[in-house]
């Protein structure tokens, strides 16, 4: 017995030791849905260890989760826990749709997983449903949850309908798989309806990007079959899906797309099984601006699915009835304005006229696909003779190759300056000349105000007591903003302190270095990162500018490329001790003159059993792509003179910084000396030193 205890203790030590080089990564949730008003348990599957998970964070409100029960989490072979049951309590009024879920483990905060909040009972796919003759019987309405597990997997479900019944099949699959951190191949599902003889009645491949939406009215009562598969017959164990099947109203889009606060807005509806063509919604006066999903009351105790709508306090302009198709017939507006319009029919073009004085700058932002419209907008500014002065088709906020940012085809023209006093026309159209009630738009026309947007790379910072981590911040300057941005952070967990850097004028990158106290306890919290600056106002006085950063979750493309998509939370977690206990640098402040080079000594304190290779860097990069470089302009790393690879148990290295001969003076710019421990080819765990303050003198 004593021998067994000893062995068990050894296993635990070994498992904990190995658990330090982990990156808790949620790969799948089964079933992937939870029902409103119910408590349900989902199995989380992960890559790397979820052992000891002690907290579940769910985005939005109305859904809370906890490990189910904690005692059920048993260490498997080598102490790894890669399957974990989580019990979710979902409020009756929880907003249906996708939610992000993060698990907090002693090894760190996990990547984000997804669950789908649904209204109908959840039916879980049973084995052996790969053919019509072995189709799984389901009773509707339901949310069917399963997975396209393997190559050539096809799932069949059979159900009964009454004559004349019209059902909507709304599938989440691509949208779920697309947000898995390290999934190299992504699902492209298709839904196919068949009658009893197998004859195909209808199908849909793509509606919400690669996810299908299918609506079908059954002329005859009887038993029918739903076939679910990847369109290519591809498969992956992590391609979970949820198909909402019901005959309730389903709104695909509204007109207008924008609703006002403190008043009732009447909306025209497009969609399926709608009891009425219109609905009304009233928002409180203090509802903040933004794009959010709302459930619309449809009468007779019916409500819609959550519909994306724009809340805006801009002065409202509705597209006027009649012809505004040409520059000459453009509808006059005054700026600022929030224009609600629609491409009523194919080949429709909408024009709005405004007056401007030479040098005045404006921003034109079309919100359409972001709010559920099918419009692929093109916006143009036309001059007095109808000549094209500016044009944008698809606006990309960051031209960085981040495909994750290319979320919609909405268009935007920023900082357009009127070349002369006169009348100008905004022209908007669908790039494919389509039209109809699902082609609405909301066009925000404002005077350009210098500002910026700010992104965090990545979505979480894992710390151990006594160690430091770094939050990389990058801004995208807009409408002529050139100023310096001071970074700030709110909501840090207890025991964590932050040293906030700045983004220099004309630069894009800065960093915040977090330090967990050596006596800090396991904990986690979502933080807000703010960028503060000032900007000269119209009266010449400084106007404060404060922008909240948007966290980005990293993911890895096939081949190892690194990419991002926006998420709703950045979590700072304090974990158990990690591979490194500390990163020391000397000096902590460095002053360079133009043309001068200086060395920064770096020493890491390893866990006794950790002999892994480490790399030292001052620039956050992967495969030659730069994700953050907080160094002052003109200061670079002299790679030949630096020792950045620490092999085996080596703990000392150095980086040589060099100031260019034309480097401009900068005072005490904060940078992080990073030490990366590779987890695999693409993923690395990053530690930070205490802040390094780099000064460039004349």
């Amino acid at each position: 017995m004593r021998y067994l205890v000893t062995v068990a203790g050894l296993l635990l030590v070994v498992s904990l030791g190995q658990a330090q080089r982990v990156y808790p990564m949620i790969m799948a949730v089964r079933p992937v849905a939870v029902q409103v008003g119910k408590t349900s348990t989902c199995q989380f599957e992960s890559r790397y260890n979820l052992h000891g998970t002690y907290r579940v964070i769910v985005s939005g409100t109305g859904v809370v989760g906890e490990v189910d029960p904690p005692s059920a989490m048993k260490a498997g072979a080598k102490g790894d826990v890669t399957r974990l049951a989580v019990r979710f309590k979902t409020a009756a009024n929880a907003l249906p749709g996708m939610r992000d879920v993060r698990l907090i483990t002693p090894q760190g905060a996990s990547t984000l997983g997804q669950i789908v909040v649904v209204r109908d009972p959840i039916i879980v796919e049973k084995p052996n449903n790969n053919a019509m003759k072995t189709a799984q019987s389901i009773t509707l309405p339901a949310a069917v949850c399963g997975a396209l597990e393997t190559l050539e997997d096809v799932d069949f479900f059979k159900f009964k309908v009454a004559a004349g019944q019209a059902l909507t099949f709304h599938m989440y699959c691509h949208r779920l798989a697309d947000r898995i951190h390290d999934l190299q191949v992504i699902a492209d599902p298709i839904l196919i309806l068949r009658d009893g003889s197998g004859t195909i009645l209808a199908s849909n491949d793509n509606y919400y990007a690669a996810d299908p939406l299918l609506h079908y009215k059954f002329a005859r009562a009887g038993e029918y079959y739903l076939e679910v598969r990847d369109v290519r017959f591809a498969g992956n164990a992590n391609w979970t899906y949820c198909i909402e099947i019901n005959d309730r109203p389903f709104v695909t889009s509204t007109l207008p797309l924008c609703i006002k606060t403190g008043a009732t807005t009447r909306l025209r509806l497009a969609g399926f099984n709608l009891p009425a063509s219109e609905a009304e919604i009233t928002l409180p006066a203090d509802e903040p601006d933004g794009i959010r999903r709302y459930v619309l009351p449809l009468g007779k105790d019916q409500t819609s699915n959550p519909v994306p709508l724009i809340v805006s306090k801009l002065p409202e302009v509705r597209e006027a009835p009649g012809d505004n198709d040409t520059s000459a017939k453009a509808q006059p507006i005054t700026i600022p304005a929030g224009i609600s319009g629609c491409m009523d029919a194919a080949d429709d073009v909408d024009c709005y006229a405004f007056s401007a004085k030479k040098g005045e700058t404006f921003t034109f932002d079309v919100i359409a696909q972001r709010a559920g419209s099918r419009l692929d907008s093109v916006v143009r500014i036309l001059g007095p003779k109808g000549e094209k002065l500016a044009e944008n088709d698809d606006h990309q906020e960051r031209r960085s190759g981040y495909s994750g940012f290319n979320l919609t085809a909405d268009s935007r023209i920023e900082g357009w300056a009127a070349p002369a006093d006169g009348r100008y026309v905004i022209q908007i159209r669908d790039v494919h000349q389509r039209g109809g009630p699902e082609f609405g738009y909301y066009l925000q026309v404002t005077r350009s105000q210098p500002t910026f947007v700010m992104d965090l790379d990545t979505d979480k910072t894992n710390l151990a007591p006594g160690t430091r981590g770094v939050i990389h911040v990058r801004i995208t300057r807009k409408d002529g903003f050139t100023g310096e941005v001071q970074l700030g952070i709110e909501g840090l967990p207890e025991g964590v302190k932050a040293t906030c850097g700045r983004i220099l004028a004309g630069s894009t990158d800065g960093c915040i270095i977090l330090h967990a106290a050596s006596d800090s306890k396991r904990t986690a919290a979502n933080v807000r990162v703010l960028g503060n600056s000032t900007q000269p106002g119209s009266d010449g006085k400084a106007v404060a500018l404060s922008v909240e950063a948007r966290p980005l979750q990293e993911f890895y493309n096939p081949g190892g490329g690194r990419n991002h998509f926006p998420v709703q939370m950045h979590t700072v977690a304090i974990n158990d001790p990690l591979d490194l206990l500390d990163v020391k640098i000397s000096p902590t402040a460095l002053t360079l003159k133009p043309g001068e080079s200086k060395k920064v000594e770096v020493e890491v304190k390893r866990q006794p059993d950790f002999k892994g290779n480490l790399t030292i860097d001052l620039i956050y990069q992967h495969l030659d792509f730069n994700y953050n470089n907080s160094l002052p302009p003109g200061v670079t790393i002299d790679a030949r003179a630096s020792q950045t690879l620490l092999t085996g148990g080596n703990s000392k290295g150095w980086i040589v910084l060099k100031a260019a001969s034309d480097a401009k003076p900068i005072d005490r710019q904060q940078v992080a000396v990073m030490v990366h421990a590779s987890i695999n080819f693409a993923i690395k765990f990053t530690y930070s030193s205490e802040p390094l303050l780099v000064t460039v003198e004349k």
Binding site: D178, T199, I200, V231, D376, K388
Partner: protein, 833 residues
């Protein structure tokens, strides 16, 4: 489009010609039993020529399509050779201004015709476009094998078929420091010295020079005169050929007859000119007619033949019908529909007696394989053969085509959609190499859905032509992924939807059609707005380029013609997307081109041969075997709203479709007029499915679940030897010819020796194993296997033979495996008959 050939005396001729046309019907020739055409001649200008044609009169003094040509037998005599000369072929040549007569004699009778010659000048005026280039074309100088080769010959390069007259003029007159012509000594010009072989010429002698009779040196003298005039170049004001006419346009005769052709060119200034001497003649079927360089046609075999006549970018046909028999009786022939009516008319004209109707078993198998690419099941076969319903064939066709109106009966829609998607996927190059995996699937699913829903073909064509959007979302948008660039799209559109091969016009004038480079560019222009941009929203899946159009600010207008074809007056331009205009034109009921193309293809698919072959080579010089039938089917197809299933029903319910494939003594030589059903090898995918069905052993395909049929395969490339050897196309082109249809030795060797097929036959979960395990009797198993493979029961003879074989084969399993192997390798299994 060139209108059907008219008689020589066309109302469009200019004044004097019209006068002569009138005279043709009133001229008191004489009592001779032949007629000379034209009855009066006017030759205008130096080197003017005219071909007389002498035709035998019938008993009533008239001439018809069956009248014999006496041109070669007649004698010719000019009354004044200083005004006109005539050679022994009846060809006149202007010699001097004035009036005279030419006398034509046949078997002792003579007819004199008046001849007026005018416009001859001492210093002839020779046009580069209308006289010089035709001579070079006729002599073959600007053929691809000679000076129109990529680098020309001997540094002298001409454009193909004179498609670039300006460059040609430069090459002759200015290139090589002008050494090719000598204006001060025109006859000594290198151009003429070489062409007449006075000096060494790699291409041999192309023209007769000095020393030959004036009749033979006309071309030499024309070129000499042109050089002597300073070799003027093409003038923008020069007249151009607007239309070509051949006489006779159609002849009915017997083997061994000859016919002199006469070719008349109509010019843009309204004048006409006999260009028989400069036209090029080619037989479209050497087994029926042969033609000499002077336009003398000889019938050498029975059937339908034609002579293609080409001159200056224009081409047309003179058709020759040589009946198999002078009179026939179509006993028992009953028209099922208009297809049969028009087929019968042709059988009667050609003297062919068609085969009788095929038996029910043959029809059942044929209809299943042709309509849905699938063998009938044993139960379906048994039920059909047992049915005594006189209308059972039509009912079966409706069930196969999904036209019963009853979902419970329309149970073959999946197979129907799969099989015909296969055909259309071939045509639009739907393969993952071109389109990417998702794009290929999107196109495949769109095709299947369209065919399953019986989307009218004009709508499908419009959706493809005007496709835009994300190719993952919108299948047709992959058309512009498969055919990137305006020229590729133009080429594909012409071939797939018009059945016209226009790719040669990218570089030079079409050799057999009046399609110029500018026509091709005009078609390409419809696609020049097509552009692309990155897609949004697909995240890690990686979106494809979105297809869109640019320059959408300008309302687009029609050109004057499209590929030389007119734009119906009711079609107006003024659309944003120029492709919309093309789609409007393509699908306009007035424009028969789309309907003719589709009808011809489906006739080919169902009857084994198109009314025009190759199926995708429709042009004025490739005549249909039954023009009336093609027109009627096209008209009916348009009236039906471009309904493919109804087109198939029309063809399949016809008696013509249901004829036996067994030829009769009367029609054994015919493979053109559908007098018997043309046996077809089963295409690769249906054949593999048939083997799988018969053996009960499905084939596994890459990235598709077990049980997926070969006709359901969405992609082009699969690692399956049977599909490869039986000609599944790789979809790298739009030509129907990419799908090999001919049987070959490799196919036979494969079905005979394939271990895969042997394993399927012996599959322990297969059909045979099931029958044996079910303890079925020998007779039951034999009958089942016959029904499954050949859709019929074994004959008494076969049963007797099998009984003996069974008795001599101790192992029952081995016997039946051998039987299945024999059946699968039989012609009756491998072919649709």
């Amino acid at each position: 489009m060139i209108p059907p050939c008219r008689g020589f005396f066309s109302p469009s001729h200019t004044g004097w010609f019209a006068l002569f046309a009138l005279l043709a019907f009133s001229w008191p020739l004489d009592a001779a039993n032949f007629q000379v055409s034209p009855p009066a001649v006017q030759l205008d200008g130096n080197f003017a020529r005219l071909q007389l044609i002498v035709t035998s009169k019938d008993d009533k003094g008239g001439i018809s399509e069956r009248s014999a040509d006496l041109t070669a037998k007649a004698s010719y005599r000019t009354a004044n050779s200083t005004i006109v000369t005539v050679n022994k072929s009846g060809q006149l040549l202007a010699a001097g201004n004035g009036n005279t007569t030419v006398t034509v004699g046949v078997a002792g009778s003579e007819v004199s015709i008046p001849v007026e010659v005018k416009g001859l000048r001492a210093r002839p005026v020779v046009g580069f476009l209308d006289q010089v280039l035709p001579i070079l074309s006729r002599a073959g100088c600007n053929a691809g094998a000679c000076h129109a080769a990529q680098y020309g010959q001997g540094s002298f390069k001409l454009s193909v078929f004179s498609s670039e007259s300006g460059n040609d003029h430069y090459a002759i007159v200015q290139a090589a420091m002008g050494r090719r012509i000598a204006p001060l000594d025109p006859a000594g010009s290198l151009l003429l010295q070489k062409a007449s072989s006075a000096v060494v010429h790699g291409g041999g002698k192309r023209l007769d020079g000095p020393g030959y009779s004036p009749d033979r040196t006309v071309d030499f003298r024309i070129l000499e005169a042109w050089i002597g005039n300073g070799a003027p170049g093409p003038l923008p004001s020069a007249t151009r050929v607007t239309e070509l006419e051949v006489w006779p346009a159609r002849r009915i005769g017997s083997v061994g007859q000859t016919q002199q052709l006469r070719v008349t060119a109509h010019y843009s200034d309204g004048k006409t000119r006999d260009v028989t001497t400069w036209a090029k003649f080619d037989s479209t079927d050497d087994g029926v007619v042969r033609v000499g360089p002077d336009g003398v046609v000889q019938t050498v075999g029975k059937g339908l033949g034609a002579v293609m006549v080409r001159f200056e970018g224009h081409a047309l046909l003179s058709r020759f019908i040589v009946p198999y028999s002078e009179s026939i009786a179509l006993t028992g022939w009953v028209d099922h529909n208009f297809v049969d009516h028009l087929a019968r008319a042709q059988f009667e004209q050609l003297g062919i007696v068609p085969s009788p109707l095929c038996d029910d078993s043959t029809f059942l198998r044929r209809a299943y394989l042709d309509a849905i690419g699938t063998l009938p099941g044993v139960e379906q076969t048994t039920a059909f053969l047992a049915s005594t319903d006189p209308n059972k064939r039509n009912k079966l066709i409706d069930r196969l085509l999904g036209l019963t109106g009853d979902p419970a009966q329309d149970v073959h829609l999946n197979e129907f959609a799969a099989y015909w998607s296969l055909k259309w996927s071939d045509l639009v190059k739907s393969n993952s190499n071109n389109l990417g995996e998702q794009g290929m699937w999107a196109m495949h699913n769109w095709l299947k859905d369209s065919i399953r829903k019986n989307k009218p073909i004009d709508r499908m064509v419009r959706e493809l032509i005007t496709a835009r959007g994300n190719p993952y979302d919108n299948g047709p948008a992959n058309y512009y992924v498969a055919f990137r660039g305006s020229e590729a799209a133009a080429e594909a559109t012409a071939q797939v939807f018009l059945g016209m091969r226009v790719m040669c016009a990218k570089c030079h004038h079409h050799p057999f059609e009046r399609i110029s480079r500018s026509d091709f560019q005009g078609l390409s222009d419809f696609f020049r707005q097509v552009a692309s941009k990155p897609s949004a929203g697909y995240g890690k899946l990686g979106g494809p380029s979105v297809i869109l159009i640019r320059n959408e600010d300008t309302l687009q207008q029609y050109p004057k013609t499209i590929l030389g074809m007119p734009i119906p007056a009711r079609l107006k331009g003024g659309k944003i997307d120029r492709r919309e205009l093309l789609a409007d034109w393509l699908t306009a009921p007035e424009n028969k081109a789309l309907a003719r193309n589709i009808v011809n293809r489906y006739v080919g698919y169902l009857l084994g041969r198109g009314l025009i072959e190759p199926l995708d080579d429709l042009r004025a010089t490739n005549a249909p075997s039954n023009p009336e039938l093609l027109d009627a089917l096209a008209e009916d197809f348009i009236k039906s709203g471009y309904d493919l299933r109804r087109l198939m029903r029309t063809i399949m319910t016809s008696r013509l479709y249901q004829l036996s494939s067994q030829p009769t003594a009367s029609n054994a030589g015919d493979r053109t007029f559908y007098s018997h059903y043309l046996v077809k090898r089963i295409a690769a995918e249906p054949l593999l499915d048939a083997i799988d069905t018969v053996t009960g052993s499905p084939t596994r395909f890459r990235k598709l679940p077990l049980g997926t049929r070969a006709i359901d395969l969405p992609d082009a490339r699969y690692d399956n030897y049977l599909l490869t050897v039986f000609g599944k196309p790789l979809r790298e082109g739009v030509c129907e010819c990419e799908r090999a249809t001919d049987p070959n030795l490799a196919q036979a060797l494969h079905t005979l020796n394939s271990e895969t097929i042997t394993a399927k036959i012996a599959d322990p979960r297969g059909r045979l194993a099931g029958l044996l395990a079910a303890k079925k009797s020998d007779a039951e198993i034999i009958e089942t296997l016959y029904l499954a493979t050949l859709s019929r029961r074994p004959t008494a003879t076969e049963l007797a033979t099998l009984g003996k074989l069974r008795d001599s084969t101790p192992d029952r399993k081995v016997f039946f495996e051998d039987l299945v192997w024999s059946l699968v390798n039989s012609k009756h299994f491998l072919f649709v008959r």
